[in-house]
Chain length 359, copies 4
């Protein structure tokens, strides 16, 4: 279904920018895992608007509440329902969004699909929808870390033309989190921040690339054919708002190499099968091979800009629309916890599938 | 499940390079569609090895048979079972593949996952698995064309460093099929062919990019959140063997633009809402907007090369392995019908979902 | 997944007797349906404890709140999240339920499955879980009624040995609701009520049979093979707490007839194909035939009785346990809205599936 | 999907009475299980027409072939495709079935649903469809037996008015198979056979009840809420042709008892939790409790009888139709392996789900 993801660790998100709140139901969580709101809130804070000078200034506290699925601080194996109340709902007596389709937003396509749409705040297309994903992902990350020894790290590797190379074997969480743009290269991070601040000043926006690595995944996760691990990762990433591309391992650059150059040779190392290079990105034939899994996700520049743009009205007349109010010049810093969450959800689901069939 | 794709037009593929054959079951096909093997065989022929001088010379006739789901030349609405017999099974008294893991193939990961693998011909990882996809995709393409007026075209736009720009609004099937590399630019096609032939001579291989466009998709297909149309397309493409990346619309290049540059302005045209540019790639918020849907898929160079390479044995000793026998220097020409098939399967599934909820 | 039901109109319930509340997420609801809490609350009131002298006296207001999926009083096509807060949580300083498994409850099996259980109020096994089903079912009933002209009615036809025949072609909602046991036969209803009151006085309990009819279902809903309409109804009914059996049309009694006696002859009536008898129960080959769909569901007597019974402790010692406190002598009156809800959920799901494939 | 069953051990059946054959794809089978056609053929032979004097005399050899999913006699973990060729297709130059709807068959409902139907042999509604189920079920039974120590036995306990009580704790396969009606009570079996032979002589038919027991299921299989073990069993049974009812444990008779009488007391026995009675039927709260799981399935009398009956034509005129040719006076003996197969499929699926979440 459109609003559910996963076969065995399955999440269903709900909620719009208007209405009572946003949330998620997690079905299939293993029992007896220690869990409280304190495990989840930190990732929601990393996702939250208003956390720094380079993201949207909207003030939302985004305090998560676990409504079900735990008892005496541990998971029961029953559905975990979590939600965040909506608090920042301004009464908008008149709003142009009700009468005009914002360019490169989903206003028009929702109207075309459903014949009806919730215009305040973008409704279901609001980035608030990702709260449920990040909350569920925090649980998945915890289980991956504690039960499987898997670490998932995302980071900003490029903002428009400013980029850095990240060593996926060594990058650390603290380096990523030590600056507000979440780029582990501290020098480049400052350049990125300056660019984003410039964009804010101009009422414009930029996109870029979020990289992600999962270390510690054992060989054997993933499925042949349709549910290849990279296929499920690609879907998970392209399901995030504003994404335009996904590449794993050598990615698009790998198309420039020959087979001889591209192949990852196997060698024994410490009694285990190992590849001397990792252009495969940790996955071969849809199944993890024990090397770090790494990939990159392209995010387009945020569509809301503070400039007059051509558009059409809901009455199908040509008109113009100028963005107003809160302005998010770059989604990347807040996308980092989203990419981590989606990665963790995919990996944990495949870990459980592996256990079911081959465990 | 690992071997099924789609919610409403659902396919399940089966089969290995050894054994009785390969096939597919299509569940959910609308009734009363005219259908016979003649609708399916042409795409299988485009996928077939040995069709030209630049693909693997294996001789397989790949003749499809419909076993169920039709009556008097029309679909019944019941499952359509199709298969192709395996005929090219050489008895291999001794085969190094049984005792060594081929680099950048899935031999090792299958062994790690299942504790067992079918080494002759690669088993389930053989490209023969895609026969079922292409057969099912041929049905989906036919329904899209006849019932929804949607045309799906894939083509080779890049072979290693040799590339061309393809106008997704105007590219035609006949131009694509007029050369053996399936590139609509006839001049560039010849260069590609020469490069591939050179690679064959060197026992090496190259990858590249397959582009695809779907024209005629109405506004409103696709789902919010997890089953965004581009997310399902990304998954479908990354589920194909040898793929390393997917990008839609502006893709990775779009990360270099500002929001002002990237936004697609809406204008009325012929009484319909239209975008003056199409950097979105025909999808906004996960839902089609009526513009052409186009995307690009990165294929790595084929892993089998005729050179000695480092690897490990199934007994976990370092060793070397040299590819022998049939050699496929470039998968791209045969990938074209695969990309079309996967695209059609995703689109038709969403067409039916749209009808169910909003029709 | 364990906590979801339906392919296209899909519900996911969550919540325990302890914790924040219980709720449901409805995914796949058609857009532009008028919907507010007032459409849902009446069925929750029919399900509520404490509504009459013959059900459990627990006082719960069970006030539903719609958190998402609507705008300006209409459905958006996005997930509808509904919940009811938990309010009746007594602090139980010491509770035997923590240390002993209640006979014929699920305490032991949950412990065996999950290695952990929420003992207060029965956790996820509490009848409160059905709140989400009834809330979602109220939406399904409304859509069936307004968009498809289908009416779903359930009723109590038997309490232990006291039973009545109900004419499924003519039974009316008002007759069912005119007494607290929800039996459309007013004379028999009084006998049932007296029996239940006697059981309450004795600290004992009784079961019985809930019948259900769906009128107005057109021919063509339901699927061949595994998702036959009666198969999905059987599953839905057996998923309700305390159910032990399901029979459709002639049911178990039909096994005593010969083929000649049992067959429903076809005759034309008012220009439509009609059966002169309806031993099939409105479904043939898994697909509705246009006649009323009717079936019966067996409910066992409630397991909690106010008597000392043999059991074992969580430390695996033989012991005894006596039910205390609130006592529900008969679940049937409250099961009526549950059966209606489950029926409506199955029917609407199949209505949408029919539209998708054959519409 | 309509033609698939199971979450983790998932089967998809295909095929009609006309066309190339009937078959099944099994997805999710654990790897490294010894498997050949010899494991499957015996159950197909028990299902086969023409096996004795009391079933339909149609001569079908029903020889199964495994097309994929095994290598060197063991499962690979990849999809297992199995099929049986259609051989008994008589050319029927003129057939009344093309022009008239058979009473209490699915001819009319298929026509109403799909606007088209395969009339020869009943198409997809033919009992041949169950070949795929029985073949897949044979694999599930083998895995349950060898990997989990679970034994599944079905038997005929009632033919019309002739019935016997079967002790589910002690009934043995050899007793069931020692007569052609598959009733473990040899005296009653003879009476059943005589009744069925009488029905054959009269061109009439009878139904009855198939009982089933699963012994050795550990406590903890099954899921709360919608996928309760008894709910999935009920669905599986009601998905079989000609079924009209399902009851587990005390079933409908349990509605006549009080709670005090009905509760199963827990006692320790051999260090394990045990119930002194088993009115629950081995399942409590949807989860197995370690006692034998037993249930009963009602089968209506076969609809095809050799008598003139009222019906309507495909041109919607009143007419009559008389059954001709091969006549199956009682489906029960052949239903026994079908009930076993469906039971095994449900149990194994839940065994794998239990392993995934709680293993």
């Amino acid at each position: 279904m459109a609003n559910s993801l996963g076969q065995l660790f399955r999440i269903t998100t709900w909620g719009e920018s208007h209405g009572g709140g946003v949330g998620v139901v997690v079905d299939g969580c293993p029992p007896r895992i220690k869990l409280s709101e304190a495990d989840i809130q930190p990732d929601l804070d990393r996702r939250r608007p208003g956390q720094s000078s380079i993201v949207t200034p909207r003030k939302e506290s985004d305090t998560v509440q676990i409504l079900s699925g735990t008892f005496e601080g541990k998971t029961l194996g029953t559905p975990i329902s979590m939600w965040v109340k909506n608090t920042d709902q301004r009464s908008e007596a008149y709003n142009e969004m009700a009468e005009k389709f914002r360019p490169s937003h989903a206003d028009y396509t929702y109207q075309a699909k459903y014949g009806f749409r919730a215009w305040p705040g973008g409704g279901r297309t609001s980035a608030r929808e990702t709260i449920g994903r990040v909350a569920a992902g925090a649980i998945a990350k915890k289980i991956l870390r504690e039960k499987f020894g898997v670490e998932v790290l995302a980071y900003v590797s490029q903002v428009q033309h400013i980029k850095t190379d990240v060593d996926v074997n060594t990058v650390q969480f603290d380096d990523i989190e030590s600056n507000i743009v979440r780029c582990p290269d501290q020098v480049i991070a400052q350049k990125m921040i300056r660019l984003i601040e410039k964009m804010r000043g101009e009422g414009n926006s930029v996109g870029g690339i979020v990289g992600c690595v999962a270390r510690g995944v054992p060989a054997g996760w993933g499925e042949p054919v349709f549910d290849r691990l990279e296929a499920d990762l690609a879907k998970a990433m392209l399901s995030l708002p504003a994404t335009k591309g996904f590449e794993i391992g050598s990615g698009f650059a790998g198309t420039l190499m020959t087979g001889l150059e591209h192949n990852d040779a196997f060698r024994m190392k410490g009694g285990k099968v190992h590849t001397t290079t990792n252009l495969s990105g940790g996955i071969q034939g849809g199944i993890s091979n024990g090397e770090p899994i790494y990939f990159r996700v392209a995010f387009k520049p945020v569509a809301t800009v503070m400039h007059e743009q051509d558009t059409v009205s809901t009455k199908l007349k040509n008109t113009t629309l100028k963005g107003r109010g809160r302005h998010d010049p770059c989604v990347l810093p807040r996308a980092v916890p989203m990419v981590e969450a989606m990665t963790a959800l995919v990996l944990l689901d495949h870990a459980l599938r592996q256990k079911a069939q081959c465990g």
